[in-house]
Subunit: 396 residues, 2 copies
């Protein structure tokens, strides 16, 4: 039988990153294409011990159906920590456990957007979020990134040009893919504009705990006095990505709608791992664990930045992130990114072409994304050497 | 800030069952309202041992990001077992791991339906599926259940009356909420009609392994020669509901679209538990484990049927399921179900009103659903006594 697909899914392609992954079956290729946390960042011994204890004492609860909203003690522990670390959570807020930050993003769009509505995004932005919006039938409209976040005037212009805009999606801290952090001044202006146009903001902050340089900047959520920010984050980058446990904190009315939508998507998030997260957060030293991850990523990022400086021709520029997982490299204007990525693969090094992250899927890009959390030190050194070779040949 | 919700979510209410759960905080109420598997059905010791082994040997894989399609060895093990037990899986089929059968249902609708399209369902039907369709913006249109499944002629009539019908949703075996199993003759006619109108069928079979009486009837999927059946099931009723691991098996082109949609929903299902399921299915005696669950539910179902006979007035009829988790009771025509459920709660016994399961949310119902897997034997006996009292008073 021939299937006729929904309009929203008919056009949606699998993420290019996942396609690149498939070409990585070749073990001689060094990959800077992933967005995986380092395996060393998983506190395996502690999780194993707590897990054994849950099987011994709470198996009947952990293996049974749970509440859609999430395991209540975990919701409380998250609300407490986010309040302490990021100044997040006011009277009218509630917390929902989601199956990874990805689900929080998708549920927000599902709750707010009809087919044909518009989500305003940083351009470039996280492909997983862009595809989530598209899979809900929403259109993604981009506001270009600059060195310290999007230009608030350009955001306002985009709002005026898109009367069907229903949501603003931002990753203000260590953005994916650019590594850029939005300045506090811009954050305040963006909030003021969103309030003026009554537009909710989805603040995605998966990397917020991973600052290894520079000064903390307040989250949008902590600056929000109008109850318009929905905050989304997860344990993927600090405990385990594979367990798929994330959370959203936001205005009660909005979160309540997301609960109804989540009930229809997966009833609730894996309860055993919710209990495991709760035990880790309340019984282990999460701050000490995060300090270790920060030190690891600081070292890896510094190593990659040094090797890029050493190997890349001067015509290639790159961002210097203060945290997170990514560096954003830019070739001279007009460079054919597909040709460059192909050249890099020939040199046995994989990067993600910037086109992947464009809000407009047909727009070109002369940038590419590098990840430093996944490769080993040796791979970073050798991979940057290969990348330099590819760039020099490409720019000749 | 006042939020404006999407049309599809604005009207969607939380499942009435979950609302009833909240009223169950009173520990003196006996609940026949749940749909939970018995806690005794979780093979805790085996899962604990395998889990410890995964932490010891495969933690770096189990805690890291995985493939959206699912853990390849689990996909293979499922395809093999479903082929052997249910005759499922042809050349052109592929298997996708989902976060509980619920996600398989939602993804199928998302892939096939635009807002305003129609899903044809048995009436009454599983509230989780109905709400999933509604959350995608689809309309649910019901075809009334009879003692051996929906009338194929009525299905054809509904197709003719609904040119925007895009999907047929059926639970042919031990249906939720009625406990009814569709006869083989009707299954063949339904397939023939679906093929004639080029309409895909979503066959939901969460209880298929739980037959404790009567003869096996071939699944729709095993009878499908046109590649139009998408088959959905899960481990929720045989290993653990709380872990949220299910699967779909269906035509490659359709499953590929669902993979793209799933990537945007939760990237992939909890990988640790996928590995745990794989270990259990391949290393433990799943058949012996399922035989134990069948014996348990046969005993519980028989006990409840006997107590219903003993306690309910003759004017109340009920189904005699050959498997699954539910019995469907019907009061005389015109009975006010809300009043009856309220009376039952006064007598400290909770049931789910049939209105919950109606495709048309405004339609009345004179039936209610009972669950026998969750309550203890003592609760079944005492709860049926209370239910009888409520019914006698109500019908007086």
């Amino acid at each position: 039988m021939e299937f006729v697909f929904s309009d929203k899914l008919a056009a949606l392609k699998p993420s290019a990153i996942r396609e690149i992954f498939k070409s990585l079956a070749d073990p001689t290729i060094i990959s800077f294409a992933a967005g995986n946390p380092a395996a060393e960042s998983f506190p395996v011994a502690a999780l194993a011990a707590l897990s054994a204890d849950i099987f011994e004492k709470n198996a009947a609860t952990a293996l049974q159906y749970g509440m859609t909203e999430g395991y209540p003690p975990l919701r409380e522990a998250i609300a407490k920590r986010q309040r302490e670390v990021f100044g997040i959570g006011s009277e009218g807020d509630s917390t929902l456990i989601v199956s990874g930050g990805q689900q929080g993003i998708e549920l927000a769009c599902k709750a707010l957007c009809n087919e044909g509505d518009v989500v305003l995004c940083e351009n470039p932005s996280f492909i997983g979020a862009l595809n989530a919006f598209r899979s809900c039938g929403a259109r993604t409209v981009g506001v270009d990134m600059t060195a310290d976040g999007i230009d608030p005037d350009a955001l306002e212009q985009a709002i005026k040009e898109n009367p069907r805009a229903k949501l603003i999606y931002l990753i203000p801290t260590f953005q994916n893919p650019t590594g850029i952090t939005t300045s506090e001044a811009k954050r305040r202006k963006i909030l003021e504009i969103a309030a003026r146009y009554s537009l909710p903001i989805l603040e995605d902050n998966p990397y917020g705990e991973l600052r290894f340089a520079g000064e903390e900047i307040p989250t949008l959520k902590s600056l929000d006095t109008d109850g318009l920010v929905l905050y989304c984050s997860s344990f993927s980058k600090i405990l385990s990505a594979g367990m798929r446990v994330g959370f959203v904190i936001g205005p009660e009315a909005l979160v309540a709608k997301m609960v109804v939508a989540k009930q229809s998507e997966d009833v609730h998030t894996n309860l055993f791992f919710q209990m495991l997260c709760h035990r880790f957060v309340t019984e282990c030293d999460l701050d000490a664990h995060i300090r270790k991850i920060r030190a690891l990523y600081r070292r890896k990022c510094d190593l990659m930045l040094g090797e890029l400086e050493k190997n890349l021709p001067a015509a290639v520029t790159f961002t210097r992130p203060e945290g997170g997982l990514f560096i954003w490299c830019t070739l001279p204007e007009g460079a054919d990114m597909n040709a460059f990525v192909k050249r890099a693969i020939e040199k046995k090094v994989a990067v993600v072409p910037g086109t992947t992250f464009n809000c407009d899927t047909t727009a070109p890009s002369n940038s590419f994304r590098l990840n430093y959390s996944t490769p080993t030190d040796e791979q970073i050194i050798e991979g940057c050497r290969r990348l330099g070779e590819a760039a020099r040949e490409f720019l000749k």
